[in-house]
Symmetry: C2
Subunit: 542 residues, 2 copies
């Protein structure tokens, strides 16, 4: 806690002294301070302390606001300001790329561990493929301008519909595949919470006509393994079944044609209070207040596998075949999840609905409990929430395939942008500087006019598989060269001078300890390997 | 040569017997057969042999043509056919992804070896950033439909302009960065030659005010290292200097305002005969025939570093300051490239112009000599050609930056799609089946009703870091399970039955040799590790 507060103070004073703090840093600060306020409240800290923390948060927000105002002035003054990425998109800086690579590595290792192969599909698809697949969200699809091509094109909205197209097009019967790629949604971005218009999805899907709940259990198992390995703190996986929801809607008196729109309304209950959703159901979607309230009685229910038995005593619900099927399915699923050792993470939650239209069976969503929605704190204070989700979509391939071949599918999608946001916080809080370049040997010279010697030496080191670099100036100062090494945590520096060259020796410098050793040039490769191993062992032990 | 011909025959007979050969395979066959024809011609083979090979090529092309006709009929008959990626885009299948991953790995390893860090930028940028950066090619930019956003958006055309924006936006003074990402061009795709509308670029750039030709030499050195490691066969790197070209245009009598358009015409000389380019210069761009012919006298010149001395004797050219500067620069560059041991790959070629407008200094392009343009064979027969290119762009950052801060840059871009195409040929020719999944242990059962035991065992193996899989059916046939292992080259299979379960033992099967060993269940992890090591050694040795 103390660290947190200090970090913020340090960076705040950095702002006030005019040091370069990017808007990104500022956003991060706001997030950290927001978290700090939440925790103070949760721990019921002294009210002065809370007030102080809130004031600090407010001043940070004002600073960001001011900057944005200045930016927009600059824009008006100097014509078009080209120095912006489009709304809802972002650049990844080298230290953020390091995090991204680590997160992707953990996720793909896990997918591969389960025998998945990978594919890639284009970012652009025919618009006609994407329409009528996403229900109310279809309005969020980015379309390309008609520039004289034969077909209307759009940016993909997810990786699931392209996967279904791939399965249909290649007449595939079974496939376990993963796909990591960017998707696009003209949504209202909340970038502080890791929500963007361009963002990565990491999807794992199993296509094929297998036995009841076997692939479904594996998808949920994989989500658990990934979240555990990513070490994001406590989480829960909410599970429900679309057929059960449909049965509930039916017994509550919702007309068939309204199942999907009402499902979309129920989906909002994780972020929106009931009275707002109720209002939408009644005034926006034409339900009677009685029907809405009946739905509310059902969707408040949540629990573990025992809830299945409770629902089975609901005579009216049990008249619905789809309810009986869903509960039988969930019973099998929960048994498999127990065998997989993950049932302690599962909450069977009747208000989980998932936004997309194409789900037909089990649906699930993983939520970090530390960052969960809290109506007391309001929407602004919620950092991330859902980090993974998925479900069964048995009819999508058939809908796309002109031959109407049916291939049942289930998939899980990891919301990596939110995970990046958390990992970035963790990085800022830890105050450990990320190493963004991998150079292990730097070739420096102590005197002028040795650039050609440095080049020859670098070339020799590259040929011997070292990661090597040198200054790109003809006559760099030794101090600058050594500072570059220290700043970038380069392990070793080889220093040459004319005396050393004549004597056939080189100097190896251990950048961290600043020790120097003279060795015969002929032993360079061998000695560098010895010293590198030594330095790395020291770093690992510290 | 014999292998080639046989491969084609095998696959051709596969087509005739109705086996599933995808359009992609067919395209590959056409490419292979085309290469075969070229080589027969080059080796001046017997004319009957050439005729036979050409006939085979023609029949393959007809087959593809027929299929496309059928496809378009299907489309008309059944309404909209959704089963297509947009023109000029493609899916990557698992075996192609394997190749892609290997190629990316080699390239990024090399970039990292030179101390580069990586960034990512959005696929969409403000249209205003991209306009007026690409000269004649600006018409190829994909724009997004105006769906009510404040700013016009477009898909990025390359990674260079976004990099310049990044440098300007973040007020960076020096940076060595690489970036791998998809870019978009509304070009006329020639997919058989690895040319697409959506394609990957792998860029390495050095931004910063360093000393003459030091970063330039490193960029070319990197291209050599990468092409050598990718093992694509013989290649040459053509080098020229924009300032030298401009001086040539000046002394030939081209007006200043026409330098870039005439440069674009010269750029076409690698694929277009002189008389066509001459016609464009005269009738399309208003040069007099005399001026065009003077240009032709210059741009035919090519050679090694000696050409610098020859050009220095050209009194008229030497009146141009930019010519003197360019030649002095190239002299330094060639000395550095000699120190880097790559000068034997370099051709100083005055007709190299590069398409993009933003280059200001050294420009270069790497061409695989095996796949080079041959006017005798015509455009259709040319497989790939250029696989890397780049150059210096000293004014781009300044042009974008509203503060007009200048950051000189140079970069190299690897044309990976063409490299993928070559690697795919090599894969098809080698007839080695690619392993697209990494599963090392498969959990099978010999009897019915053991799914829960298989699940427990899989879960145990995953927890012990094995890459493990099982059939997703309740009661799969043992034969199907074993066939899956063999087809996917899975190393080991663990087989359980009720007798084994009772006795506390499991059977390990070596999938390739079909040997089986019974071991106590308690030793499973340890024994699997021993057997895996043994199997891998055997595979490596074979």
């Amino acid at each position: 806690m103390a660290t947190n507060s200090n970090t913020t103070t340090n960076l705040e004073s950095a702002i006030s002294t005019g040091l370069l703090i990017t808007d990104n840093d500022l956003n991060d600060l706001i997030k950290i301070q927001g978290g700090f306020v939440r925790r103070l409240k949760a721990e019921k800290a002294a009210s002065e302390q809370i007030t102080e923390a809130i004031n600090k948060l407010t001043s940070l927000k004002k600073e960001l606001c001011n900057r944005q105002a200045v930016d927009s002035e600059e824009q008006t003054a100097g014509g078009v300001n080209l120095l912006k990425t489009p709304k809802g998109t972002r650049d990844y800086h080298p230290d953020q790329m390091k995090i991204r690579e680590q997160v992707f590595q953990i996720i793909t290792d896990c997918f591969k561990q389960h025998g998945a192969e990978t594919i890639d599909t284009p970012v652009i698809e025919l618009t006609s493929l994407l329409t009528e697949k996403y229900g109310e969200d279809s309005k969020l699809i980015y379309e390309l301008k008609d520039q004289g091509g034969a077909k209307q094109l759009a940016l993909r909205y997810d990786l699931t519909v392209p996967f279904a197209r791939y399965i249909a097009e290649n007449r595939i019967a079974t496939m376990k595949r993963y796909h990591i790629g960017k998707v696009y949604r003209r949504d209202n971005p909340k970038m502080t919470r890791g929500r963007y218009r361009e963002f990565y999805q990491c999807d794992f899907d199993i296509a094929g006509d297998f036995d009841l709940m076997v692939p479904d259990a594996e998808c949920i198992k994989i989500v658990v393994e990934i979240l555990d390995k990513l070490d994001l703190g406590q989480y829960k996986i909410y599970v429900n079944h679309r057929k059960l929801l449909d049965a509930i809607f039916a017994v509550c008196g919702v007309p068939d044609s309204h199942f999907r729109p009402i499902s979309s309304s129920v989906d909002k209950l994780d972020k929106t209070p009931w009275h707002v959703v109720r209002n939408e159901m009644i005034n926006g979607k034409g339900l009677s207040p009685e029907v809405a309230d009946k739905i509310w009685n059902y969707v408040q229910m949540h629990g573990n596998a025992d809830l299945i038995d409770k629902l089975r005593t609901d005579v009216q619900l049990m008249t619905q075949k789809s309810a009986r099927e869903a509960l039988d399915g969930l019973e099998v699923l929960f048994r498999y999840l127990t065998l997989y050792g993950v049932m302690d993470k599962i909450i069977f939650d009747l208000k989980l609905a998932r936004g997309l239209d194409y789900y037909t069976g089990v649906i699930f969503e993983a939520v970090l409990t530390k960052y969960q929605y809290d109506s007391q704190l309001g929407d602004d204070q919620v950092a991330v929430g859902s980090v993974a989700g998925g479900g069964r979509y048995d009819e999508l391939v058939c809908k796309i395939d002109p031959r109407k071949r049916s291939v049942p599918c289930i998939g899980a999608s990891i919301g990596v942008e939110r995970i990046f946001a958390i990992k970035e916080h963790q990085m800022i809080e830890s105050q450990i500087q990320t190493k963004t370049i991998e150079t292990e040997v730097y070739v420096a010279s102590a005197q002028k006019n040795l650039i050609e010697e440095r080049m020859k030496l670098c070339s020799y080191l590259w040929a011997n598989d070292f990661k090597a670099e040198m200054a790109l100036k003809r006559n760099p100062r030794l101090l600058d060269q050594l500072q570059y090494c220290e700043k970038n945590q380069i392990e070793l520096c080889v220093i040459i001078g004319s005396a050393e060259l004549e004597a056939g020796i080189v100097k190896i410098r251990d950048v961290e300890t600043r020790e120097e050793f003279e060795i015969p040039r002929a032993q360079l490769v061998e000695q560098l390997r010895v010293h590198l191993t030594r330095v790395r062992q020291r770093i690992q032990e510290s």
